[in-house]
Each structure stands twice: as structure tokens, then as C-alpha cells.
């Protein structure tokens, strides 16, 4: 089966610099992908190139098998049959909710259009607001109008550019799940761009971590967290520290918190290879009986748990996530135990 979206070795260059260099990925029909990265990493440029608002300098973009951008082809945005949700929603201020949603439906008959708008209003739960104008809606409602407007034309591919960044934190999380449900219900293939990993994990099936115009890792949220391919991805995704260790003769990794079997990094078969081991806060468990002791340096209360910053005897810091009934003061010494299913280690640079 052809993927719904194929990006093959695409480069986008501005006069002064290259924003995207030879980027490739693909999305299967019905999948929700995400480009995740800091601002300036090129993720929005990639999205705009797929939409047709940027012209790639090299490479090829296919939607549902059709070439929309290549060295010889450049289909204008209006001919790509895509839908887009903008960061500022870009609702049309002179039109009410119904007319905004119906804006792209002028090819339909009046009756079909009314029916389609009705479906969309029901899908996003805005039947009661259908006569309102954009400025009379809350941020979350505007967001849903933008989504409905883009979905109404039954796009082959939905593009969402930082769609939640103008909403407050609580709403962001709820709407993320809601949008995922709406997209899944409509069976739409979509690609989301964000700098917020919680958003990416909540909405997407597959996430690409972007750095300097390249995708470092294209994987499910679960593997991004548990098996980041390099230190950059490890640092970017989730919390954690890198502890120094050494590979011993029996290909085990030894470090301050113990000795672990585990895949040693490539290029590191040799005895004595120096590595850094990724230790996540949820890997470090509180255990009063443990012989390994650590001193509490700082603590952050998160409701259900504490995030403790601990100092190991060597002075090395680790993070530990502990259920919140274990209330320890700063300066106290507590026992900890490492729970690692498999170590993730990188060759020391």
C-alpha cells in the first residue's frame, strides 16, 4: 500500500542558509505523525513545504502517491487537497462559524454543503455556537472551528502547525486528546508540528525529533522515551541524567549504581570502553533497605509524586521519582535502587 505522505530527501534553503537538508519520512494512511523540535529546527518550514507554501530546493514530496513537489513539479497549495490548522487559527473574522466551516465547500450543492457543515459542527461539538463570530468564541472553540473548517473538505492530509500553543496548559492537554479522537474518527492522516513533547506524545502515533533541519529519530513515543538513539534525543525527550560508566571484559556496563547486562553501544565492543548511561527518574527507586545511599539536594512536589534531585556519594547527581507519601527533607540521606530493564548507553565523547 502506498503511504499517504512521502517526503524523499527534501531540502529547503533560504537565501542565507539551509533550513532543511535532505529530509525523508513517510506516513501510512490514517496515521498521525509529529515533527517535534525547538523553534528554528525547521519543523514548520517542512510543514509549509508539504502544504505548498515553501518550494523545496531538492527532493520530492508525494501525497497519496501523487507528486506534489519535485524538481519538475510544483503544485499550488489550493490544488493539493490538504487541510491546514494554523497556530493563530486564521479564522475569517467577517464570517460566522457556519460560514467559516463552509468556506472551502463551494463546489457542493447548497443542500450538501449544509449537511457537511452540520456533520462538522456535530463532530467538534459546536452546534450551539454556529451563528457566532470568531471573536465571540473562546480560544478552544476557535481551535475546533479551525479544525472543522480544514476537515470539512475531506483533505487527503491534515497539517497542524503548533495548534495548541495559544491555549493554556490545562486546555492544551484536554484538546490534544480531543483532536486525536476527532482525527481518528474521521480517519484522516495528519501531521502535527510542535515543540511540546507532551502534546506530541498525546496526539501522535509516530514522532520525529528534529534538530537543525534533520530528523534524528522517527519512532513511536514509547521508543523515543526508552530508546533514544543519541544523547541529543535523550536530553530532549523526558527527564534524566547521563552517568559515566565503563564496559567490562564480559560486555557488561559498570557504573556507580551497579553492573548491567545490556546492549553496549556500537563501536564499543572493547574492554574498557568509556560510556554514559541514561538514567531516567522513574528508573531510580526509593528503597530504605538498599545499601546505595544518596543525599537529597532539592525536591519538587508534583502532587502524586516528588521529583528528588539526589547526590550520589561521588557527587554525581541523579533524579528520582518517588510516590509523594515518602516525604524527605533537603539534606536527608535516603536509600535508592536502580530498576533498569535495559541500559541505554552512548560512547563517551
Amino acid at each position: 500500500m502506498t503511504p499517504m505522505l512521502e517526503v524523499n530527501a527534501v531540502s529547503v534553503r533560504y537565501p542565507d542558509r539551509a533550513v532543511i537538508e535532505s529530509l525523508s519520512f513517510s506516513l501510512a494512511s490514517g496515521q498521525i505523525g509529529c515533527l517535534l523540535g525547538h523553534s528554528g529546527c525547521g519543523k514548520t518550514t517542512m510543514l509549509r513545504a508539504i502544504a505548498g507554501f515553501e518550494t523545496p530546493a531538492a527532493g520530492e514530496i508525494r501525497i497519496d502517491g501523487e507528486v506534489v513537489a519535485s524538481a519538475s513539479t510544483m503544485l499550488p497549495p489550493e490544488a493539493r487537497r490538504i487541510g491546514m490548522v494554523f497556530q493563530d487559527y486564521a479564522l475569517f473574522p467577517h464570517l460566522n462559524v457556519t460560514d467559516n466551516i463552509g468556506f472551502g465547500l463551494r463546489a457542493l450543492s447548497a443542500a450538501e454543503r449544509t449537511a457537511r457543515i452540520g456533520e462538522m459542527l456535530a463532530l467538534v461539538g459546536l452546534e450551539d455556537e454556529c451563528r457566532r463570530f470568531p471573536h465571540e468564541l473562546s480560544g478552544g472553540q476557535q481551535q475546533r472551528v479551525a479544525l472543522a473548517r480544514a476537515l470539512a473538505t475531506r483533505p487527503r492530509l491534515m497539517l497542524l502547525d503548533e495548534p495548541f500553543s495559544n491555549l493554556d496548559a490545562e486546555l492544551r492537554e484536554r484538546l490534544g486528546l480531543e483532536v486525536r479522537d476527532i482525527l481518528k474518527a474521521a480517519g484522516t492522516t495528519a501531521i502535527l508540528v510542535t515543540h511540546d513533547q507532551h502534546e506530541a506524545f498525546a496526539v501522535a502515533d509516530v514522532v520525529g525529533v528534529m534538530v537543525d533541519g534533520q530528523i534524528r529519530q522517527w519512532a513511536s513515543p514509547y521508543s523515543l522515551y526508552h530508546q533514544p538513539v543519541d544523547r541529543h534525543v535523550a536530553n530532549f525527550i523526558g527527564e534524566g541524567v547521563l552517568l559515566p560508566g565503563v564496559v567490562n571484559a564480559s560486555a557488561q556496563i559498570e557504573f556507580e549504581l551497579g553492573r548491567f547486562d545490556g546492549p553496549t553501544p556500537a563501536h564499543c565492543g572493547v574492554d574498557g570502553c568509556r560510556v554514559d548511561v541514561l538514567v531516567r527518574p522513574d528508573d531510580v527507586q526509593h528503597d530504605d533497605a538498599s545499601p546505595v545511599r544518596a543525599t537529597v539536594l532539592a525536591r519538587a512536589f508534583r502532587g502524586a509524586e516528588f521529583l528528588y534531585t539526589l547526590a550520589l556519594p561521588s557527587g554525581q547527581k541523579v533524579l528520582s521519582l518517588v510516590p509523594s507519601h515518602h516525604n524527605h527533607a533537603v539534606g536527608e540521606e535516603i536509600g535508592i535502587r536502580l530498576e533498569l530493564e535495559h541500559a541505554v548507553a552512548y560512547v563517551r565523547e
Binding site: P77, E78, H94, G104, R149, A150
Partner: protein, 534 residues
Amino acid sequence: MSSRLLPSRGVLCALPIALLTVVPLLVVLSSLLDPQAEVWSHLLDYVLPGVLWNTLLLVVGVGAGVLLLGVPLAWLTAVCTFPGRRFFGWALMLPLAMPAYVLAFVQVGLLDFTGPVQTLLRSAFGTSAWFPQIRSTGGVILVLSMAFYPYVYLLARNAFLTQGRRAIEAAQTLGMSRRRAFFVVAVPMARPWLIGGVTLALMETLADFGTVSIFNFDTFTTAIYKAWFALFNLPAASQLASLLVMFVLMLVALEQWGRGARSYQVRSAHAERIALHGRLRWLATLWCGTVLLLAFVVPMMQLLVWVKGVWADDFDARYPAFIGRSLLLAVMAALLVTLLALVLAYARRRYRDAGTHWLVRLATLGYAVPGTVLAVGVFIPVAWLDNVLLAALRPFGLEALAIFKGTLAVMLLALAARFLAVGFQPVDTAMQRITRSQEEAARSLGLNGRQVAARLYLPLLRGGLLSAALLVFVDVLKEMPITLMTRAFGWDTLAVRVFEMTSEGMWDRAALPSLFIVLAGLVPVVLLIRKTES
């Protein structure tokens, strides 16, 4: 690489429009490069000393006058509470509807020796010799200050509303008295706005032709007019215009600086107004009321009284022609300027290169250039073109004195240059409000360029285009020097009629065309009031 050398498409759009302003300016300025000894010696001996001194007096006097009137009124209505505060807040903008030359002849008619005020005084006290002479430097300054203070009032009020009260509160928490805080904090903070208001008022002052004619007070504009129409000395008019342009460009630089230094803050909704107590309350009311009476209510009533007196005799068959020409000119200029403004605003949005940016700024410079200067700057190249064409066409049997000279087209060109900025502003504001993402959203929903224009741009720009057309319409209706100097002989409009009646001192007969102009002028002021007060 060669594409870097070619002008962008934005430049190609904006350049012809910018030429409307740039050509007259360059024509006028180029006369500086070609000083003619005999013209200059005449100017230096007979014209310049008086004109320069008068201009200096006007700039200093009106500058101080508009500040003294505008700033306290703005502070009172923006920050304090006193009886009638809400009413005065908007009513004090009403004088904007009255052209300075109308206010001028009404005040002269009221306060002159034979006017009702001095007559009344004489019948009460036997003499009015002690009454100050209205036809004096002080009189011109007073009238122009009353006509132009709304510029300072509007901008200062905006500054005080957005940041005044909060700043005063901050200063008070730091132990400063309110009075001290006004001078140490509020006024300095508002400085860029005040400079903006004063420079606009001074541009109008330098451009003013009607008022100073009525007062027989010689300035550059009247000197240009006399050099051209009384002495038939176009080079002298052009030399004078070039000097005036130098003054104007200094003001433009000052105004641009003030504009750049303005940083807008969100209006703070919850700052307490300063409640005036006891006698102060009523003094505030009295002061606002006096300014409103003198600058608008009394002149308006006097106009009506005069019109009532002359209506039956004077409103004859010529008036439909005056009104018809005024309307024709105003409607055509409004349509032309709105169209040009639309092109410029679109070019600025679409092409963001430096060339387009600067051409748009040049094109909208005309608001600062006095009408007399533009009239000279447009007339000279048109007359030259006429001569060239006539010489070329004579062999073919064409016998005429002029081709373009004195045509409506030339008037429209000069008027368009003068009022392009007036029309550009509302269109550009509306254009800026359409975000790039809205345009892209329309494209991603399957609309091509033409459909985006029809279904997104047009409906969203409608308001801006309408107010551009309305503002230009009213400004052209009021406009005096360009119309006067570039019209064909006998092609009189309402404003020209005002000029002719006032030059003969017939205030009551000048009141009739003035009333039409003032009533039309009220429309945009009412719209402005509705916008600022909502």
C-alpha cells in the same frame, strides 16, 4: 544574480505612484540648484525678510498654542473626573470639522471693529478702543491654535488613556505628589505623542493658505500665490516653494522620530480616575466649555446667522454649479486615491523589499507638502509637456494654448499627491489586519489567487476602502490652494467661492459655501468619534 539588479515587482507597482509626489518635490527643489540672481534679489529685498519672520512667529506661536490648549484638555478628559467629562471627551474633537479658514473669517467677522462683539461693547461702555486687534499676529496664532489643537488633543489623550493613570499611580507609590507626577512622569512619557501632534499641527500651519490670506498675514503660501498670480513670476514662486519644502522636511524628520518612539501599551481598565474636588471641578468644566464654545459652537452659530441673512439673495443658479464641481472633484479624487492606496498597501504587503518600503513612504509624503508647493511642482512639468506637445503638433495644424494645463486631470494629480497618505492609512491598516495565515488558510481550502481576492481581501478591506474614500472626499472638498491654483479660469468650487468672498471681506456671503463644507466635514469627525469612544 541578475535578478538582484532588476527592480522587484513591488517597486514597479509603487514607483509610478511615488512619482506623483516625488516629481513635484524634485521640480521645486531643483530650482534651488538654479538660483536666478534677479529673482533672488527681489525675494531678498521685498519678500523673504517678512515671510521668514512671520513663518517663525507662526511656528513658535501655534506650536505653543496647540500644546497649551491640547495637553490640558487631553489630561482632563482622559484622566480626571468633572461634570461633563464624557461629553467633552468627544465634543472637543468637533473643531476638526471646521477648516481653519472658516474659523478665521468667522472670528474676524465677530471680533473686528465693526463686528457684533465690539459694537456691543461700544454701546455698553462708549468705547472699544481697548479691545485687542484681531487682525494681528496674535489673532492669527489664536485662530490657528484653535483650529489645529485637536491634533495634539487626540494624540495626547491616546497617550494618557493608555499609560497615564497607571504611570501616575506608580509614581505615587514612590512617594511623589500627583501634581509633581504629572510634570515629571506623565508629560515626559507622552512626549513622542505630543511631538506627533505638534508636528501635524505645524505641517497644517505651514500649509495653510486660506487663514493667512484672510488675515493678510504674509507667509510662504501667500507669497507663492502672489508671485505666481499677481506678479506672474513662476520662478520666484518655485524658489519660495523650495524654501518652504526645506522647513517641511525638517518637520517630517521630527514627526518620523516621534512616531518611532511611540510604544503602545494595553489600555489598563482598572486605574482609578483622579476626582477633582470643589472649585477645581467647575473650573475644568468651564475651561473645556470655553474652548468648545470659541472653537466650534459660536463660529457654527455665527455661520448659521449669516447664512440665514444671505440665503434668499445669494443661493442662486450658480450654487448647483459650485456644489456640482466640488462633488465631481471630491468624488473623482476619492476614487483615484483609494485605488492608488489599495495598490500601494498591497505592494507593501506582498513585496517586503527595501525598495518597495521606501517608495511607499515617499509616495505618502504628500500629507506634509503644502498644496501651494504641489500646485507649483505639478504645474511646471505639465506646462513644459504642453509646450513640447504643442510645438510637435503645430505642423499637423493643431492650434491651441494648452493641452493638459487647467484640466481636471492635472488637478486630480496634485490632489492625489496631497491626500494619498490620508487614504493610504485606513486601507493599509485593514490590509495589515489580514494575516498571512488567513490567506494561506484560504489557499489550503482550495481557493486560487482571484478567489482569495474576491472572498477574503474584498470583504475584509471594505471598511478601510470606504473610510479612505470618505476622508479624501471631505479633505478635497475643504481643500483651497491646489484647487485655486490649478483650476481652469472660472471653474469655481465651494472652497474657491469662500476664497473669493473672503478676499472681498464679505463674511456673510462666504458663510454659505462654508456651511456646506463644514457639514460635510462633520461626517468623518463623527465616525472618528464613534471609533475612539467605543
